[in-house]
Symmetry: C3
Subunit: 449 residues, 3 copies
């Protein structure tokens, strides 16, 4: 059935290094939920996955309850003091202005300027990340140290931005066909400017996961979706909702996966769908110290994928998730926060997760009563004194005896007391012999849109 | 949607006083399951609720498995000693004879009389309350002190009662229309003679609850039912069973609500219907020391409303319930046992319960994906550094995200961790904005019978 | 409804003695999964149950995934030393050869012979029981003591056996009609040679249970099935699967019931079917120290009856089950291991189990609201002071109030807090009065095949 080969440590290590190189390349780009930053990012990713499809959704169009905002173009922004020094310069760090700031060119006293400044007193050397996508304003984000040093004078404020009503929002997807049309969704977002963990780690692990999957023979079709957060997934769902509802068997939204900290996932509304169970099983085995956050803790596109009238079986997979680590949404979330090793371990985790996704079907015994194991070479030639069935035969016969079509592999693993990955070869053998059959998870056979 | 105003303390206090006055007026009446005592009681209650409808069910008629007994008329009863003193006189206390005693006029020795006397050795100064509705007998109930003082002599026994085969059983109801035909049932009984807590407190709280509801704009229709216990609710159900099964969303049988002791309710068969959950939620919040008794403890008309082939979602609401307090079914259950304050607090509890009943719908988000909260004024204008959504927005968005049509307000309250009454204004606002819709609880739209 | 009379101690004692006598008679017979040993055994049992039907299934025929093996005929087998002494003689103990050994007549050195010897070092005085039904081989089973005494010499080996391709496999059944076509299955196996507990105790208790049932008026039809283990139940199911699936309400596979040790049962796949619940209830009451083994511990024909595509509600009932006691599958499992008392107690247990099976219906109250108990003589004539309903009335009214068609007797017993056997007379009375009705457990009315 499935023919996945897991990667060895050398391969993973080499992919980790490549992932970190990609992070360095993407880091400086000034992304937002619209604009050329997104386009430049997606074009670089397309070098890795040439089949990545890039789409534009016009500003002003309605998607569900939302209206796509005007495209935001940002060319330059600075605060200049009376001596003509650019004391705050967007060209140096694109966190320096509120994302989606409106254009401004005026001279202000320090008091007037203060109303448009943002800093973090408790993290005096960090520049905060602030956005205002749907309410027009402008402002600068600086370190609290710098803010405290500002003196009373007239400052020249320039934000050379533009709202393009005839612009658009950019997003991308890629469909990797499998044996069946049913899909596994891999999603991340590409809308934060220079931040490493809470931006780049997600799409980078997603890209390398797809590179891995391209080299396997997959049972499921895999769909990679890269959108600006929230509005982007709303746009995507407005085009593909029904198809996705009919085909997605599990979805994984990737975020904050580049650091070296513990693992976690954010479960769905009732914490019991296919993706929840698969993720919980793998994390329990691979990273037993993991944290499971409830749906109340959701924060990224899983909010849309899992909302009541969408209801895709999606979980968010993180190391330290958004909002829980101090560097979150500041300039401290930079390339020092992530590592090749951190990315590589997350990729390995995702490979384990898709591996179980490929195997976690409901199985059904094909025979009436037990099969005659001996004729398949699955039974010892003679039964010895007090000789209860040996362990291997016992697992085989127990697995078959519980495979009544109501038990998926995770449940079977619980029932027979053997970890899922130890059952993969046995499942392969029994399916090949015709003694087990996979129950179709979804009956839909429509072709992808 | 609902426009209930809760009462302030002054209003409640004034209603408490009025309730106690009514109790004093009703206390002396010689009620039974049939007869003029019931009629007199209902006519007094009709002064408060002029729309109260009073009905007569003929003696001898069949209602389900039961036959309505002959009406019992009682004019006088006494035991006279040889000196001509009425040593036991029904006119002094109507508990002195077995309710439904047959007529008798004879002279008996003390030994013969003893077989017809009832007293309580462990409560020597209390007159017990004894009935024999369906098996003809007669007897006197006296204090054990008096019984011990009786001397050997010939007693003259008179019970001037009558069984009227062409009589009837009297009961009443009142329907207060709401926005929908679905109903909330409020029930109590009116068949005990001079007892205060286990008789008068129930109908009195019910009457004043209806007076309160008459001044509100209610979503549900409210049905008040006042019947003699057991046979009365059997009669009522025999006329209205199908309509009630189709329309009643929750019912509250009120009893023993005038004392100052703790609160309790008797849950339905499986303790999980709409009325169970509402009552449990309010009691947990308002009176966390409350007692929940199982269906095994049922004892009044909830026995009929909740029986297998009737299955109305009804609970019995009490302070100390029948059978648990020492004064129960004796002359000690008198006007000293109840108080204006006790009645007033019970009324307040019932108002909280009907309030939650009005709100406890299943709700469903109307949008696909999250709504764009900003355009409804439900979102802060810009998201700040590390700035997770503020508490109010978080509750809004969490409530919407769980409102998938399978969650009623009580469940939503549990999921988002906010008490139900704190969610009422938010629910009102989201429904008004069209972001939430109530799922119909019952589809029936037939008009009341 | 049911008219079972339980046996008194004298009757049970006498049946215990008779059971042990039967065991002595059956013990020496050389049984296997095919052949004359099975036929001889079944013919003796037919003396007890003349209606026992005996069938032959041809060798080579396909039954589900299995092929019936050639019939094995064994006439003689021995190992003779150089002095002409038969040092191992199958005529002395039929465990001495591997069951289904192929014919052999050759002379071997001790070293060559050793490869065909089986013994148990840890039980040096026991002969092990070894089989090789589906893989051709031969061998002798001896005590380890004897094995250690063997000297270097040339041994003459003779196994005078034969595989008859035109032979057959023998099995039997008996149908004892009840009021309805729905069935209770009683099963055991008849394929082990001289072993007492793990062979004879099962069919013997089954036979005497049928003798008991023949003298009762039964609600259910009872089906006794006696087959060689595994292949025999496969053969039987291949003929009767659909009918059994439609009619069997509970089944009991009997094994290892003759010793004096504790009781146990092996539950079905999910441990919650009709037979599981009945057995658990009786064992909890009669033998509270019993052990419940999970489906993972199954080992006899319950494996086939309860397998996914068969799914009969069957449990295995044992004292110490197969594999847990030291004598299991050795010559120590002999007539000393079982006793009249052990067999008699097991019969008594089975009678309790079928008794509850007869009563464990879903019940439904026939009235709307409570019935008027007084008119059925089920209510005290007058209610006394503080007089809550007396215990007997309380149980009656509680039972009726929970009998909503979703509760079987076991659940009703839990709900009202009264052991099942104390409810049997009440159930009989209420059903006879028409106040309760049994809900049909299965609707099928087809006649038995």
């Amino acid at each position: 059935m499935t023919h996945h080969r897991l990667l060895d440590l050398d391969q993973l290590h080499s992919m980790g290094t490549n992932m970190y190189e990609l992070a360095k390349r993407l880091f400086p780009i000034a992304r937002s939920i619209t604009g050329d930053g997104v386009r430049e990012t997606l074009n670089i990713l397309k070098e890795y996955l040439p089949n990545l499809q890039i789409y534009e959704q016009p500003s002003g169009s309605r998607c569900f309850d939302w209206t796509v905002p005007p495209e935001w173009k940002i060319r330059d922004a600075y605060i200049m003091d009376e001596l003509g020094n650019k004391i705050v310069d967007w060209q140096e760090n694109n966190l320096h202005i509120i994302n989606y700031s409106e254009p401004v060119d005026k001279k202000l006293s320090l008091t007037e300027l203060q109303e448009h400044l943002h800093s973090i007193p408790s993290m005096p050397d960090a520049i905060p990340y602030v956005t205002s996508y749907y309410s027009r304003t402008w402002g600068f984000c600086i370190t609290h140290e710098q803010r405290e040093r500002l003196t009373e004078q007239i400052y020249h404020i320039v934000i050379d931005s533009e709202f393009m009503e005839n612009g658009s929002l950019t997003y991308a997807d890629l469909i990797l066909p499998g044996e069946v049309y049913q899909e596994v969704l891999i999603s991340s977002y590409i809308c934060h400017p220079s931040m490493a963990n809470n931006e780049l780690s997600g799409p980078i692990v997603a890209i390398f996961l797809m590179l891995y999957l391209q080299q396997q023979r997959n049972y499921y079709t895999y769909r990679l979706v890269l959108t600006p957060e929230t509005i982007g997934s709303i746009v995507y769902l407005s085009h593909h909702k029904t198809y996705l509802q009919e085909h997605v068997v599990a979805g994984y939204m990737l975020s904050c996966l580049g650091d070296d900290r513990g693992y976690s996932f954010i479960s769905s509304r009732y914490a019991n769908n296919h993706a929840d169970r698969i993720t919980r099983t793998i994390m329990t085995q691979q990273h037993p110290e993991f944290t499971e956050y409830s749906w109340l803790y959701r924060g990224s596109d899983e909010r849309q994928y899992g909302s009541p009238n969408i209801d895709l079986p999606v979980v968010a997979i993180c190391r330290s998730p958004f909002g829980t680590y101090p560097e979150y949404h500041t300039s401290h979330d930079n390339l020092n926060m992530i590592s090749a090793k951190g990315l590589q371990e997350s990729l390995d985790l995702m490979i384990q997760i898709v591996h179980l996704t490929e195997y976690n079907h409901y199985y059904r015994t094909t025979t009436h009563g037990e099969p005659q194991l001996g004729k398949y070479g699955l039974y010892p030639k003679q039964t010895d004194f007090n000789g209860y069935l040996e362990k291997q035969v016992e697992v085989t016969i127990d697995l078959i005896s519980y495979a009544d079509g109501t038990t998926d592999l995770i449940r079977l693993s619980d029932l027979v007391g053997v970890p899922v990955h130890n059952l993969y070869p046995l499942i392969d053998r029994l399916v090949k012999l015709g003694l087990l059959e996979r129950q179709p998870y979804r009956k839909t056979t429509r072709q992808p849109q």
